[in-house]
């Protein structure tokens, strides 16, 4: 396969690292060579989280500026902030559910409008989709499945030599039994949304 670099951008506590790991394990289970990278520590305290999955034989565990083929944004502003890592012509799949920063919550800074965010991303690539991850996750009854919605959309988009079915199998195999049903549903909802746009 053509090697692919996938950049994850999210907020500490959101489960970005779990999503990173799930994608990496799905790839490995399907016989694709994978290296993934993440940074622990300060990120847990509500800071920015960046992580990486590199498929198809890379050795490096990180993605530098302009190298990502795909940016998976788990939060709108963090998607915008991570754009310098995207290569020209790269693709963006992002959640449309903002998580305000502390400074925004306190009224010190303003959260940019979705129009501004879309415009910013649009300047870098035409290939971007916003996914209503939180809205769809609520349908499963468990908002924590928002990340799985995004991954479901990603698998359905056909950017990888992996199918939604591979992802669903991975959810069944890798997640704790009590989480499987809601996450399967979340992945399917993300995939359905992707098929509809």
């Amino acid at each position: 396969m053509k090697p692919i670099r996938i950049f994850f951008a999210g907020v500490g506590g959101q489960g970005t690292l779990t999503a990173t790991r799930l994608l990496a394990e799905t790839a490995l289970d399907s016989g694709i060579e994978v290296t993934a990278g993440e940074i622990h520590g300060m990120a847990q305290r509500g800071g920015v989280v960046h992580s990486f999955v590199l498929l198809g034989g890379y050795l490096s565990p990180k993605i530098s500026m302009g190298e990502a083929d795909i940016l998976l944004g788990f939060e709108p502003v963090e998607s915008l902030r991570a754009l310098p890592y995207l290569r020209p012509g790269g693709r963006v799949l992002a959640s449309d559910a903002p998580i305000p920063t502390l400074s925004v919550s306190m009224g010190r800074e303003t959260y940019p409008s979705m129009e501004n965010i879309k415009e910013g991303i649009g300047k870098c690539t035409e290939k971007f989709f916003f996914i209503p991850c939180m809205e769809l996750a609520k349908k499963t009854g468990i908002v924590q499945t928002a990340n799985t919605v995004l991954l479901g959309a990603f698998f359905a988009a056909g950017y990888l030599p992996l199918s939604l079915e591979d992802f669903l199998q991975s959810i069944e195999k890798r997640l704790a039994p009590r989480l499987v049903e809601s996450n399967l549903q979340a992945a399917r909802l993300g995939a359905e949304f992707m098929a509809s746009v």
Binding site: A36, M106, E109, G120
Partner: protein, 611 residues
């Protein structure tokens, strides 16, 4: 995937740190000690998690020096031992480490040292390969998860055979990478050894030290011969242009050469990097015109290569640290690509990342969690002292108090430093000094500073922020933690009697979330001079929820959104608050129910959680 059960041939996606654990288990490690520190923490945490099922002895030691000494002792007793820490921890452990290298470690001792180029979670980005040379430690530098496992296993074998401690030097990217690892066979844990008495070797009085230094140097020369032939050091490619790389730079180089095959170079990858393999490197250099050295941080291999060129009279161009490859931060594939292009006199590819104006994006620095007892203490301290005190801080979540509006950290050196640095500061200035230290950090090395403060009659107001866990690095236990939650270790060491036994007479102990008690105790201690200690106790809310299983019983709500409520938002900076225009709200999902805001502001009221 289970690191203890899975048989040889299993292929699993492991974190670099998990792979190190598997490597040690395959080597039959019998004794593991550590002090947790990012990016090394998942190694001891994994051993801890598996310890009910493993045969090895595992301990969280109280600091890195102690961890090095207990592991050193086990190794002297013939047991293969592992000690783990982050790079700054090696500073703490350097004293026993250097002497252990002199006297040797018969059972085998592997020292994991996790460096942090880029300071992802550290106060500096020192290069521990200087310690390798200072102490005389053969050193492995893995670059993949598979190598993390295989090099760890081999480090144990070599350490036992050479009777020298071996360092496994990693960097953050390697510790926290995930990659496929093929397992080898497990060995039974060797938890018992035998001590062969040999005072002329193991009692390092000056007469012994003198002899042992020479023995160490001779041993390192023998080891150097093996390193020259080691399969971990490999040559590939061809041409008159060479590249020598170690650590994660090998991964970056590998990817660049794979993606840009037009870059024709001859490569020497060093996995077993010290003693420096002079003969191997000389043979590699002999037919080259120029060579580039790829190593993050210090020009250590570069200087070795320059030495060899000088000694052997080689007139080749040696390149290393320059504007493309600086002494700070991490390397990357793009930096390596640029450096290779320049080396080959080719035009370097232009940076092609997407540029967006980020100047107006709201920042997202890490901050104290909702319900964190540190916030409660900081708010009250700031209320009473404001900018009229100087705040000595320490290492832990509570360092985040440096940010506005709390602003309760003015200087910080290292673990345990707040006590003693605060003492020095209070001699130098007239303003009062208030020092903060966490419970784990107090046990780590704050207590020695406290005894010194009493003995030398310093003037210091110390606040021990006792949240009953090691919060920052992932809730590891320490002597002050109630061990009943972690099977088999009942009881805990109370901080107050320790403080009193250190000679401190003015001690107050209150609940950290109780604003009134805090206020009274701080006002009282403010009036007293000399060493006085406030112990502010309340558990880390994440620890209380995840480890102790405590449920939240109440939460705060906004009764009236008025000026007072707005002021409370600005004073506390609690992430559970949010504003809609000027209207104050509390996110019921985020509110941890600490009730600090309710105590500070009559416009906020408690209600039962779930209502």
């Amino acid at each position: 995937m289970n690191l203890l059960d899975s048989g040889p041939g299993t292929r699993s996606l492991l974190l670099g740190n998990e792979a190190i654990v598997r490597g040690a288990l395959e080597a039959g490690v019998g004794f593991i000690s550590c002090y947790p520190g990012t990016p090394s923490s998942e190694v001891p945490d994994t051993f801890f998690r598996l310890s009910k099922h493993g045969d090895y002895h595992f301990e969280y030691s109280i600091n890195e020096k102690v961890a090095m000494e207990v592991a050193g002792g086990a190794s002297l007793g013939g047991v293969p031992s592992l000690v783990t820490m982050k790079h700054v921890g090696v500073n703490v452990a350097a004293d026993p480490m250097v002497t252990l290298a002199h006297i040797g470690t018969p059972g085998g001792l592997v020292i994991l040292c996790a460096d942090d180029p880029g300071c992802h979670s550290s106060q500096n980005e020192q290069d521990s390969r200087y310690y390798v040379r200072l102490a005389g430690l053969p050193c492995f530098e893995p670059s993949t998860a598979q190598e993390c496992k295989d090099m760890t296993r081999e480090a144990f074998e070599l350490s036992a055979r050479w009777q020298q401690p071996v360092m496994l030097r990693t960097t953050t990217r390697v510790n926290h990478m995930r990659g496929p690892v093929v397992f080898g066979p497990l060995s039974p844990a060797r938890t018992k050894g035998a001590f062969a008495r040999e005072p002329q070797r193991f009692v390092s009085v000056p007469a012994v030290g003198r002899v042992r230094h020479r023995a160490l140097l001779a041993n390192l020369e023998t080891i150097r011969e093996e390193v020259n032939r080691s399969a971990w050091n490999k040559i590939y490619g061809q041409g008159k242009t060479g590249v020598i790389a170690s650590g994660v730079s090998r991964a970056y180089l590998g990817d660049v050469l794979k993606l840009q095959p037009e870059l024709m170079v001859k490569v020497l990858e060093l996995g077993l990097c010290y003693p420096f393999p002079d003969d191997l490197v000389y043979n590699f250099l002999e037919n080259l015109d120029r060579v580039l050295i790829l190593e993050e941080l210090e020009p250590i291999m570069e200087n070795e290569v320059r030495r060899i060129c000088q000694q052997k009279g080689l007139a080749i161009q040696v390149r290393g640290k320059d504007k493309d490859l600086p002494l700070w931060d991490e390397y990357s594939t793009s930096m390596v690509s640029t450096a290779l292009h320049r080396l080959l006199n080719l035009d370097a590819p232009v940076e092609t990342g997407c540029s967006v104006d980020q100047s107006n994006l709201p920042g997202r620095p890490p901050n104290l969690c909702a319900g964190c007892p540190h916030r409660s203490v900081y708010v009250q301290v700031r209320k009473i002292f404001g900018d009229n005190a100087v705040y000595s801080s320490d290492i832990g979540c509570y360092t985040l108090g440096m940010l506005p509006p709390l602003k309760t950290a003015d200087f910080l050196l290292c673990m345990g430093s707040s006590v003693s640095t605060g003492c020095g500061m209070s001699k130098a200035i007239d303003d009062p000094v208030v020092a903060f230290i966490g419970d784990s950090t107090f046990f780590h090395s704050g207590i020695t500073g406290l005894i010194n403060a009493v003995y030398n009659k310093h003037d210091l107001f110390l606040i021990i922020l006792d949240n009953r866990t090691t919060a920052m690095t992932g809730h590891q236990p320490h002597p002050g933690v109630d061990q009943a939650v972690f099977e088999g270790k009942p009881g805990r060491i109370e901080i107050e009697p320790l403080v009193r036994a250190s000679g401190v007479n003015e001690v107050r102990r209150i609940k950290a979330l109780n604003q009134k008690a805090l206020s009274m105790a701080i006002e009282e201690l403010k009036k007293i001079s000399g060493v006085r200690v406030l112990i502010a106790e309340d558990p880390c809310p994440l620890f209380a929820r995840k480890v102790l299983g405590q449920k939240r019983t109440k939460k705060a709500r906004v009764a009236v959104s008025d000026q007072a409520a707005l002021e409370c938002v600005r004073t506390l900076a609690c992430p559970a608050f949010y504003l809609e225009g000027e209207e104050v709200h509390i996110n019921p999902v985020h509110c941890a129910g600490c009730m600090v805001c309710v105590q500070l502001c009559p416009s906020l009221k408690p209600e039962t959680a779930g209502s």
